[in-house]
């Protein structure tokens, strides 16, 4: 094989998360009490448009979660084992190869042809002058005719044309698919889509899909030739960094909740159901944990992990592994602090449920407590877990940025918006200002958080309008 798959810990958890979501989807579609609120979410145009955006982020993140190592050319090792490069690549890396490899020397502005900082150059006659060196890749294929503005507008037009074509294809495909079930004409179906007279707000979804397709087309047409968001201090493409950060921040937003979920569920339900001593102990546990500043818990988590990695250096021999473990420890740290709120909510809900007739009846019938908890209580508190997970997502993404700023975020060599913002602080002090890293991080992060917030609102309203953020 020319490559070998690598499954990092976070990849494994990502796949687990995916499996859980699929399982939940199937489960929810079979139960009316779960289907009803989802139907309400589905009717909300804003939420569905946001969902399309989230899906785009999600797909990017998933592509970045398929890792492998390429086989090195040349002879195999004695014993016939193939030798693989220690560099771990992802599917996204391969897709973005030009972005990944087009490194300049140092800063360059968006769409620039020349470096941002002047360099001392020795002329052939021995004189030395300061000049802005031509970029190696930025606008490299540009011929003298027309110039940059012309080239960019041509590429943009082409991108627009391609984007519109793809989008139209998607619209038609959707309409056909809808025709199949309903038995109306394609034209009527298209008309209804355009008028927004559908049960599911396809129009809004198609609109946001269109925007995404246009953006992707623009990137595909421009990024090979220009640095759309410029380059950073060591010449890496900022757009690529921002795209690579998607996975990091998605993982933090989701895995932190996933990691703590079993504890919160078990302890919260147990405390609420059993009461008495058990309740006291669990309450004590979470009050104690809750009263310790979360920063300290996170720092302790990360430092102790560093300690472990130093002691077991052999187990972490690639950069990706080290980054990965650090990311997970950050998730655990965030999870430990987020665990408390969920646990408290679950405890309260369980206490309410316990008073319900059907539970009381089950108790009277002598059903074992464990069975009651798993069979009767757990399914009925799942909506709280869902709402909590969705709502805390954007908070976690925002927290990542702050933690990176304090210096306890993800590995400093890992791409994340927090690291980009943190670096941008120094760049804002430059004169002229280097604003593009901050702008890129802002745009990507803002879009994700906004979409997540809109979607979370709809989910909360659908499941439990009384629950507050």
């Amino acid at each position: 094989m020319p490559f070998r798959f690598v499954i990092l810990w976070s990849d494994a958890l990502t796949y687990l998360l995916l499996a859980v979501s699929v399982f939940y989807g199937v489960y929810a579609s079979r139960h009316e009490h779960l289907r009803a609120p989802w139907r309400r979410v589905r009717r909300n145009p804003l939420a569905m448009a946001a969902l399309v955006v989230l899906a785009a982020y999600g797909i990017t993140g998933l592509m970045d979660s398929v890792h492998f190592r390429l086989r090195l050319p040349g002879p195999a090792a004695p014993g016939g084992h193939a030798i693989y490069s220690p560099q771990v690549l992802s599917l996204l890396d391969v897709l973005c190869t030009p972005l990944r490899t087009h490194d300049e020397q140092t800063y360059s502005a968006p769409f620039a042809l020349h470096a941002f900082t002047p360099k001392l150059v020795r002329l052939s006659d021995g004189r030395r002058v300061m000049e802005y060196p031509r970029l190696r890749y930025g606008g490299a294929g540009l011929t003298a005719a027309g110039g940059r503005a012309h080239d960019i507008s041509v590429r943009c037009l082409r991108a627009a044309a391609e984007g519109v074509l793809v989008w139209l294809a998607a619209v038609v495909a959707l309409a056909r698919w809808r025709v199949k079930g309903a038995g109306e004409s394609l034209r009527a179906a298209l008309w209804r889509l355009a008028r927004g007279e559908t049960d599911v707000p396809w129009r809004a979804m198609l609109a946001s899909l269109g925007v995404i397709i246009l953006i992707v087309a623009a990137i595909a047409n421009l990024a090979g030739e220009y640095h759309i968001f410029g380059t950073d201090q060591v010449g890496q493409d900022v757009l690529f960094e921002a795209i690579k950060s998607i996975r990091t921040d998605l993982l933090i937003g989701t895995l932190s909740t996933l990691v703590m979920l079993p504890f919160a569920l078990a302890l919260g339900v147990m405390a609420g159901y059993s009461g008495g001593r058990t309740d006291d102990v669990i309450q004590y546990l979470y009050t104690t944990l809750g009263s310790i500043p979360s920063v300290l818990l996170i720092i302790a988590g990360i430092l102790s992990l560093n300690l472990y990695m130093t002691d077991h250096a052999a187990a972490f021999d690639t950069i990706a592994q080290r980054q990965d473990v650090r990311l997970l420890s950050l998730c655990v740290g965030l999870g430990v602090t987020g665990w408390i709120g969920l646990c408290r909510l679950l405890r309260g809900e369980t206490m309410k449920l316990r008073q319900m007739d059907y539970i009381q009846a089950a108790i009277a019938l002598g059903v074992r407590p464990r069975r009651i908890m798993t069979r009767h209580i757990l399914p009925n508190v799942m909506h709280i877990v869902l709402i909590y997970a969705v709502i805390s997502f954007s908070g976690l993404v925002l927290a990542e940025a702050v933690l990176s700023y304090i210096g306890v975020g993800v590995d400093p060599s890992m791409n994340s918006w927090g690291n980009m913002i943190n670096g941008a602080r120094l760049e804002m002090a430059r004169d002229p200002v280097v604003w593009w890293s901050l702008a890129a991080a802002f745009l990507f992060m803002f879009t994700l958080v906004l979409a997540a917030n809109l979607f979370a609102d709809a989910v909360r309203d659908a499941f439990d309008p009384r629950m507050r953020t």
Partner: protein, 733 residues
């Protein structure tokens, strides 16, 4: 009008009133100074220097302080017997409180006097006799305060007397006293006292006669004394003799060191050898003082030009001119060119010039720089971020200020510091370490691949000189140009140094057994580890760059970043592979750099500063010969041999010697970087009137956007009103 209505109105009125009041207050305040002036308005045209400290200094006790940020303060307060002449280069020691530079008297093993040119191996002891000047007085301090009958006021304090005193200002009376030789001896004894924890303890115990024995005796005596309040009591060190350090008269003392050690005078120019009045030590060791933060570490007592009057490490530290400062004059001699630069205009003037120095806590570089540009700091380094805004290179390759800087009257002063930054290989490591030809080639290949010149241009904007060996410029034995180059790494083309091409490195790597970065025997890719404790955005760029450099050889570099402690631990146990490190000179002598590669000084086993654990017996032998020689051709020849040995073995990737660029505002005079002297504040002079004028011109607030914002807010009200009226009309009533 209903009650809640009235309540709401009142609340709104209160808020509006409060905002208006605050605004008025701010306006009143602003009327007196620039809006963004971080200092009180009344200070605007005073003879005050504004500086900053980035980190709160931990120890201001001269026996303990060893950090640059601590020296910033105590070098102005405590005066060792000698100082570095401010203007002369190479660095020259001159008397400060001493009357003259002492000439050592050499003795043999039996205490017989030897001639000055006696060979080093016959010299068993060197005796330095120092005469200090008369009439030098200490700064006013409560520890010297006496009542009318001459008794100390504060030397036998009771709890009641201490009462509510929390800072040194709580003691109303102060006094002073003349500086005597015994104070110097007292301080050396403090260095030898184990409980003082001086970082120089182990170094000095090798040199000063009777140092170790004194330490043992003092510890024994202290342990035998009864404790006061559960704490060990004050020990009068002047009663315990030290064989090598003697008071010979009111103004004379002598120090005897083992063997011949000419560098000893350099040590004596550091604040470690400043005088310490026993009254101060006793004063602060009284019960109840420490629990009130009243310690020598916080309240220095010295004879220097300044004294510390405000010590609030959370915000501000202030040095005020010492009213008792002894006559001290601006130097009359300088380097050629100093006169043209205006550095001799104040020659012969009484020092210090500046009345007060305000140090503000400034944790980060960015706000510091912005305030410098606004005129609120008087000098600044140049951060990488702002470099291009500040400096451009002339056609001749000279660094000069950009037009916008020159328009502000800002001046640039550059110099190469006696420091070195390097990447070290752990010589104990099985892959990169060792002295085999194979390992040497691997190290050389890496040394060629890591393009230090590029590093300097990316991360330091060209502010550095690629190093060729351990010795930086300005240190005896440094050879500039092609003659001093590392022939394994650099070519000399047309009189200029050029790093060997990457093809050479690849060939070396193949010869070392790793063609194309893969082990020729097993076929496995070569994986190397870079150990670092740096985190944060700069570190990320740095690591990315390092990985890029190694990729040129197809070597995969793994960065192992840990916290500082773990890094130190790794270094102590020799578990690191490649690391970056640096060294600042303690004193301007090649010994202080060459000992970084001296085998017995290894970090592993020797707990020393030789972090690469380089141990070459021939180098070690030469080092021992070189260390106590006088500077001259013989010493130079030995140094040259040592350097070329190190170049051959390549235990370090010679990094760079940092070039320092500093900026000074137009109103600051007499600035010349002196990397050895830390007491340069007293030479500086400012022109407060010019500063006040410039600040006003540079800090006019831009107010119109505020009006725009207000107007926009007002516009926002408009639709609200419209909708409201619409609603009212539509409402059923």
């Amino acid at each position: 009008m209903s009650v809640p209505h009235r309540f709401a109105r009142r609340a709104i009125a209160a808020v509006v009133l409060a905002v208006i009041l605050l605004g008025l207050l701010a306006a009143m305040h602003a009327a007196r100074s620039e809006w963004n002036d971080p200092y009180p308005a009344r200070q605007a045209d005073r003879n005050i220097l504004y500086a900053a400290f980035m980190e709160r200094p931990k120890r201001l006790d001269p026996a303990q302080a060893y950090n640059e940020n601590e020296y910033t303060f105590i070098s102005e307060i405590y005066e060792p017997p000698f100082e570095y002449q401010y203007l002369l280069r190479p660095y020259t020691l001159v008397p400060l409180t001493a009357r003259a530079m002492p000439v050592p008297v050499y003795l043999d093993r039996h205490g017989r006097r030897l001639p000055a040119d006696a060979p080093a191996r016959r010299i068993a002891y060197s005796v330095y006799t120092i005469h200090i000047r008369r009439g030098i007085m200490y700064q006013p301090a409560p520890c010297f305060a006496r009542d009318a009958s001459g008794h100390y006021l504060y030397q036998s304090l009771t709890r009641a007397q201490l009462g509510g005193i929390r800072t040194i200002a709580g003691f109303r009376h102060t006094g002073t006293r003349e500086l005597v030789a015994a104070d110097y001896v007292y301080e050396i004894k403090r260095l030898a006292s184990p409980w003082v924890q001086s970082p120089l303890f182990s170094v000095l115990s090798h040199y000063i006669v009777g140092f170790r024995r004194f330490a043992r005796t003092a510890a024994r005596i202290r342990a035998a004394l009864p404790k006061v309040d559960g704490r060990p009591p004050y020990v009068d060190l002047s009663r315990i003799p030290m064989a090598g350090v003697k008071v010979l008269g009111r103004y004379t003392y002598s120090i005897t060191v083992h063997g011949k050690y000419p560098q000893f005078l350099y040590w004596m120019a550091m604040p470690f050898f400043a005088p310490m009045p026993p009254e101060a030590d006793h004063f602060f060791s009284q019960p109840g003082m420490k629990s009130r933060d009243l310690t020598l570490n916080w309240y220095p007592v010295g004879t220097g030009p300044y004294m510390l009057t405000v010590n609030d490490p959370n915000r501000q530290m202030v040095l005020e001119r010492n009213p008792n400062y002894h006559p001290d004059f601006y130097p009359r001699r300088g380097e050629p060119g100093d006169a043209q630069r205006g550095l001799l205009k104040d020659a012969g003037q009484r020092l210090p010039f500046i009345r007060r120095v305000v140090f503000s806590l400034e944790r980060e570089q960015i706000p510091y720089w912005d305030k410098f540009l606004q005129g609120y700091y008087d000098e600044s380094a140049i951060s990488t971020e702002s470099f291009n805004q500040v400096v451009q290179f002339s056609p001749g390759g000279e660094a000069e200020l950009t037009r916008s800087m020159r328009a502000k009257g800002i001046r640039l002063v550059t110099g190469v510091a006696p420091s070195i930054y390097y990447y070290g290989f752990n010589m104990l490591d099985p892959v990169v370490g060792g002295y085999s030809q194979r390992a040497r080639r691997l190290r050389r290949a890496i040394s060629i691949a890591i393009n230090i010149g590029q590093y300097i241009s990316i991360f330091r904007n060209g502010r550095g000189l690629p190093a060729q060996g351990p010795l930086p410029p300005g240190i005896f034995g440094y050879e500039p140009g092609c003659a001093g180059r590392d022939p394994y790494i650099y070519d000399c083309i047309g009189g200029r140094l050029r790093r060997k091409p990457i093809a050479v490195a690849r060939r070396l790597l193949a010869e070392a057994g790793y063609p194309d970065g893969r082990d020729a025997r097993t076929g496995k890719p070569l994986l190397l580890y870079y150990d670092t404790y740096q985190t944060g955005p700069e570190a990320k760029a740095n690591m990315d760059w390092m990985r890029k450099e190694f990729r040129k050889l197809d070597i995969q570099l793994v960065v192992r970043a840990t916290d500082y402690n773990r890094f130190q631990q790794k270094m102590r146990h020799g578990e690191e592979q490649i690391f970056s490190w640096g060294w600042n000179a303690d004193y301007p002598d090649p010994e202080d750099f060459l000992f970084l590669l001296y085998g017995p000084n290894s970090e592993v086993g020797g707990n020393g500063e030789n972090s690469a654990n380089y141990n070459n017996p021939r180098y070690n032998r030469l080092f021992n010969r070189m260390r106590n020689m006088e500077n001259g051709p013989a010493r130079e020849a030995i140094i040259r041999r040592m350097v070329s040995m190190a170049q051959r073995d390549a235990p370090w990737v010679w990094g760079f010697y940092p070039k320092e660029f500093r900026l000074y505002q137009a109103w600051l005079h007499n600035v010349k970087p002196n990397y050895m002297a830390t007491n340069s504040l007293k030479y500086l002079r400012i022109d407060p009137a010019l500063r006040a004028r410039d600040r006003r011109a540079w800090n006019r607030p831009v107010i119109w956007p505020l009006w725009v914002v207000l107007a926009l807010l007002a516009l926002l009200v408009l639709p609200a009103v419209l909708v409201y009226r619409q609603k009212e009309r539509r409402s059923p009533l």
